[in-house]
């Protein structure tokens, strides 16, 4: 859909100018001097020609079809221009002008007119308040500022989409110097119409783009972000996303900058982790992502080998690997035997594999040993500290030759300085072997790659199979929320166990036989009493013999607590045993339903020991969540206790995820607190639960 916008065959510059430094002058200059082969028209009532480009008084006067209008006029004129573009059947506009909602109240009126003009005209617009758009392949330099004065930008299969124009240029320039070219750059500005996700969607389907980079302050459609994340995994194309404005202070700055109400970062992070996103925290990460994803090779697992001639560097790389959850397994005995003749007797053939100074000047032995390690069945990828000897050029050639045949990624951590490596590292890069100037970046890149590859592998199975059919829930006549019994029925409908219970109707005679296992819990049932415990309306561990007396006492308590309360009766419930968990589900309007699991009591709330996943999810995914909890050691049988029924817990979490998914249009929140997790094989019980409605 955005093909014509990004690769227009004809462009009109509305507000064109003679002056190269002005927003209306720079695109004119660039589009006529940097190799653009489409047609260029100027629009400005004051001229008939600007630097040899025919100039028309208005867009209607342009004699031929125009694919893209670049608008560089004062904000107040932009709405009219958009309407004129619509009338002239121009489908796409790129508005460089500023002075809309980003300047606050002063821009509100013109923003409203802009929105109306967009709706009426049918024009799809980039901006306003953006620096423009760049397509190096088609030589479309459609914008202003330093980024559009560089006809020699290096090309590369990367598309950068940025909510900050100024920062987009910084990113591009920095990457450029690190050898990373980008074919596309789009500055989305205020996103009055087209936003970041429209471009992500477009580039996911473009074969000439292999990595999408996004600088993101905030967006409104979290579900679409998630859907695009799934798509990225399906097509195997990573979206490197640099989300800023994540902290309270950062958020304040984001609001004043783009007037985007930044969503809570948790939802973004959860979305990033479930999809084909690679999170970027610094421009280094983007450079490194570009390098490591370039070859298209994917490791089959997280088992790395560290190859070094410096023990010190090996230790350091090992520390970083451990932090990044990369494993360093021992090599197979076959590999160790094969390595022995190549290495000195005292070399440590562990992992890191320290070739020692003995191999620091020995090529091709260094590469031969490396090849044996890469081929090892225990290894999924290799982190090679670069050859420190004199034959480094020959080493680079050998390594490239090997990398071309090897199925596993090989990453190089430079032992030389960037300047020293300048003669041979670019050759390695071109040959498909990414090089990193410091060890921590090599390991971070390896971890990025492993993480993405892992998600790709699981992507097919990511869509959870339905473990319970969609159930109709009785949600009528329940303004705001369901009462405890209604809430528990919802859980039961989806197969989540609740305590056996009996309603004793206060209007009926006292029941002759109570088919419950004593002692029981007794709770008052009254539509008027919300805080049952406060009202003296709850009793635990009530024996059969004490039941009748207890009901009388509770009734008396309730009446004195609230004299006019309507007392329907009493809920008797069997007692359950287990470790307390909190299991909840929450419907985020932007991102969709999410499930939250935490250890009960104060753990979840005070210690923030919670795991989150978007719903629905499989029991296996629920199990992963549980494993993430620091407190999960308590479930595993801490200090010699019998392990708890984690399978049943995972099953209940998955079922809860289906409730919120099946009923997300109605249900806003479900909380089971506590869910008691019994010993292995004895299941879980939802002791208290509340379902809240939208």
């Amino acid at each position: 859909m955005l093909e014509k916008l990004l690769s227009p065959r004809s462009i009109a510059i509305i507000g064109a100018s003679h002056e190269e430094r002005r927003p209306g002058g720079q695109p004119l200059h660039a589009l006529t001097n940097y190799g653009y082969t489409g047609k260029v028209y100027a629009v400005n009532p004051r001229y008939t020609d600007i630097k040899g480009v025919p100039c028309f008084p208005n867009i209607e006067a342009v004699p031929e079809a125009v694919d893209l209008a670049i608008v560089a006029l004062p904000a107040s004129e932009v709405p009219r221009i958009l309407e004129e573009c619509g009338a002239a059947r121009i489908r796409h506009a790129l508005v460089l002008s500023a002075g809309f909602r980003e300047i606050g109240e002063a821009g509100a009126e013109v923003q409203a007119r802009l929105d109306a003009a967009l709706a009426r005209s049918g024009v799809r617009m980039v901006g306003p308040n953006c620096i423009g758009m760049l397509n190096l392949g088609a030589r479309v330099f459609a914008g202003f500022g330093a980024g559009f004065r560089q006809p020699d930008w290096k090309r590369g299969p990367i598309a950068l989409i940025s909510q900050s124009g100024g920062f987009a240029y910084s990113i591009m320039a920095f990457c450029q110097e690190a050898g990373i070219g980008m074919d596309y750059m789009v500055s989305t500005g205020n996103e009055a119409d087209l936003g970041v996700l429209d471009f992500v969607e477009h580039f996911l389907s473009q074969d000439d783009v292999r990595l999408i980079a996004v600088y993101l302050e905030g967006l409104k459609d979290g579900r679409r972000l998630r859907a695009l994340g799934r798509r990225a995994l399906e097509v195997g194309k990573p979206i490197a996303v640099w989300k800023v404005g994540n902290t309270a202070v950062g958020q304040r700055a984001a609001v004043s900058h783009t007037a985007n109400l930044t969503e809570e970062y948790d939802f973004y992070r959860d979305a990033f982790r479930e999809g084909g996103f690679v999170e970027i925290r610094e421009v280094y990460d983007l450079v490194d992502a570009a390098k490591v994803f370039r070859s298209g090779k994917r490791p089959r697992g997280r088992r790395a080998a560290i190859v070094t001639t410096s023990g010190g560097a090996g230790v350091l790389l090992a520390d970083r690997c451990a932090e990044s959850m990369l494993e360093l397994p021992p090599l197979t005995p076959t590999t160790v035997s094969a390595l022995k003749p190549l290495l000195p007797s005292f070399a440590s053939i562990g992992n890191p594999i320290d070739f020692t100074a003995a191999l620091a000047q020995k090529e091709p032995e260094f590469t031969q040993a490396t090849e044996l390690i890469v081929a090892d069945d225990n290894i999924d990828l290799a982190l090679v500290r670069s050859f420190p000897g004199r034959d480094v050029d020959s080493w680079a050639d050998h390594l490239i030759a090997h990398a071309n045949t090897a199925a596993k990624p090989i990453l190089v951590s430079l032992s030389s300085t960037p300047a020293q490596a300048a003669t041979w590292a670019p050759k390695l890069e071109e040959g498909g072997v990414p090089c990193f100037e410091v060890p921590s970046r090599a390991v971070a890149a390896a971890a990025m790659l492993c993480e993405f590859a892992e998600r790709e592998r699981h992507s097919a199975s990511a869509k959870p199979l339905r473990i319970v059919a969609a159930q109709n829930l009785v949600l009528e006549n329940a303004r705001g929320g369901l009462d405890e019994d209604q809430s528990k029925r919802c859980l039961e409908a989806y197969g989540i166990r609740t305590p056996r219970r009996l309603f004793v109707d206060d209007a009926e005679p006292y029941p002759e036989r109570i088919d419950l296992k004593f002692p029981v819990v007794v709770k008052i049932v009254s539509p008027d009493i919300v805080h049952k415990t406060e009202a003296g309306g709850v009793r635990l561990r009530v024996a059969a013999a004490d039941l009748r007396r207890t009901l009388d006492e509770i009734r008396a308590n309730a009446s004195s607590y609230m004299p006019n309360a309507r007392i329907r009766g009493f809920l008797l419930e069997e007692m359950a045993e287990g470790i307390e968990m909190i299991v909840g589900a929450l419907n985020n309007l932007s991102f969709g339903p999410i499930v939250v699991v935490g250890m009960g009591g104060v753990h979840a709330e005070v210690l923030r020991d919670v795991a989150r996943r978007y719903a629905p999810l499989s029991p296996e995914q629920a199990r992963e969540m549980i494993t993430e909890l620091k407190g999960s050691r308590l479930l595993e049988g801490y200090r010699g206790q019998t392990p708890r029924d984690v399978n049943a817990l995972a099953d209940a979490v998955a079922r809860l995820s289906w409730i919120i998914s099946d009923h997300e249009s109605v249900v806003s929140e479900i909380e089971i607190n506590p869910l008691l997790v019994g010993f292995e094989g004895s299941g879980v019980t939802a002791v208290d639960a509340v379902v809240r409605l939208r």
Copy 2:
């Protein structure tokens, strides 16, 4: 003491060689060609002259006094050579030879001979298995490898001490390219005699060294590390320490590399945090530390101002500041008023302060606005995104002039790429304004600086005042540990409250009057029964009326649990109320006594929610520890509860720290579990305690 070693007036090379590439040849070449002005002698029985340097058959034959012997001979000969050096009154040797304990069993015999020779000869030695030592000021190139082939190393007031020779060169070369010179480099190798800390101590007293950088795999004397950390704060000289081998996997590699048994990282980290250390995780950090500490300026607090013309960069910097605990306070109204005429009406004068594109080409307005912000009373340091306009040279001049008069640190985060900034950033650096190529490094450097400055300020008050006099404890006749009553008496002696209790001797008649508040806890007292609860020997909440019967039951339980157990009697204790904490003290043989505080129950153990500090400490420091706990919200009065007595808790922690400090030669561990923290004003109670002895 090490002056003669590092700046020798005469050097003998034992095992000198004609071949420049050999360890015995390279120093000969370097010391005679790179400007060393002292005397150089060669020692090798095969020659009388090597490249014009007089050569002697052995060290005894050298006619004049020698300050330093460089030894480059096979390992087996080194012990003999050391003895000869001793006989020749040479006080210092630098042993480049390898093949000692680092090669494992094969090197054990020669290592033992080396140790004996060291003891006998009185020679102080660097190495073996090191690459050597460098003193650029005195032109001492005493080592081998690439690092000693660079007569043009840039100088700088930094000393690098490294346990990895190979990595030391990498660090030096990388820093060099980043504009950071180092006057000293010492590779300590196996540290059979002189170790990292000997050199740290030396350089702390050297005026020409302003930053000490240490690459550390492990060391044995943690107390000395801590003492040097305190000294570093006193003299205001940061020790940038890069500790590796911190993770389980990393530790394995460290062991196989240097045969240093790496200590648990926690003790190191705690030592780093209490002293004048700056922790380094990557060579970037070292470069940045060198830059940011160069000016000697210290911020008075953690309140930063972010100055930018790119909102996007501002948001990003703000995120990083929040993560690094840097505050971004609003500017004073005075500053805001003064800024208004300089900035466009829609510019956000918050913090970040976005000058907007309007000032992106305006000098000196950009600097004027910056100066107003730096002068603001709310601000301790400024993070300035570099001027993006054409007059960047003039901006740099203005900023340098301002920085020379300003008392506050100003850090620049480059908006240009490193190559673009190459013409003016070095000028800023030389002018005392550190520049950082990416935002995260600028913020990390600012945080480093603030953290060090804060510790410097607190350094004078760091030594805690004694809040309790040293007490004699009854520790005799207690092999391994004290019983509960003895342990509690130790606590009481130091003013930590325990429950009121009464010992009921089973050999005496049942007491007529029991002066305790009921209900009480009853515990059996028997030297034979360790697990009292298991033996049925503990009862909670015993009412006065039930006491006698309870004693009989407990006695019966104990007898059936262990028929021959000697039953001394019963301990009756008043019940206490409060939130459970674990408070412990532990004596680490290397680092000294440490105090540990955690929330009780599973929090500390399962959730690793603990804070640690070396003992002794003040109640204020103890309070800081408590604040670090995630669970401390529970003490503050979670969900509307009355706050707990945190003052009393802090006081008890401080008192405990004095117990272990005063008795560290005898006590190995003290654990109070639980310590109950009552409501505000009602104190804390050590309900159970154990003191273990060495």
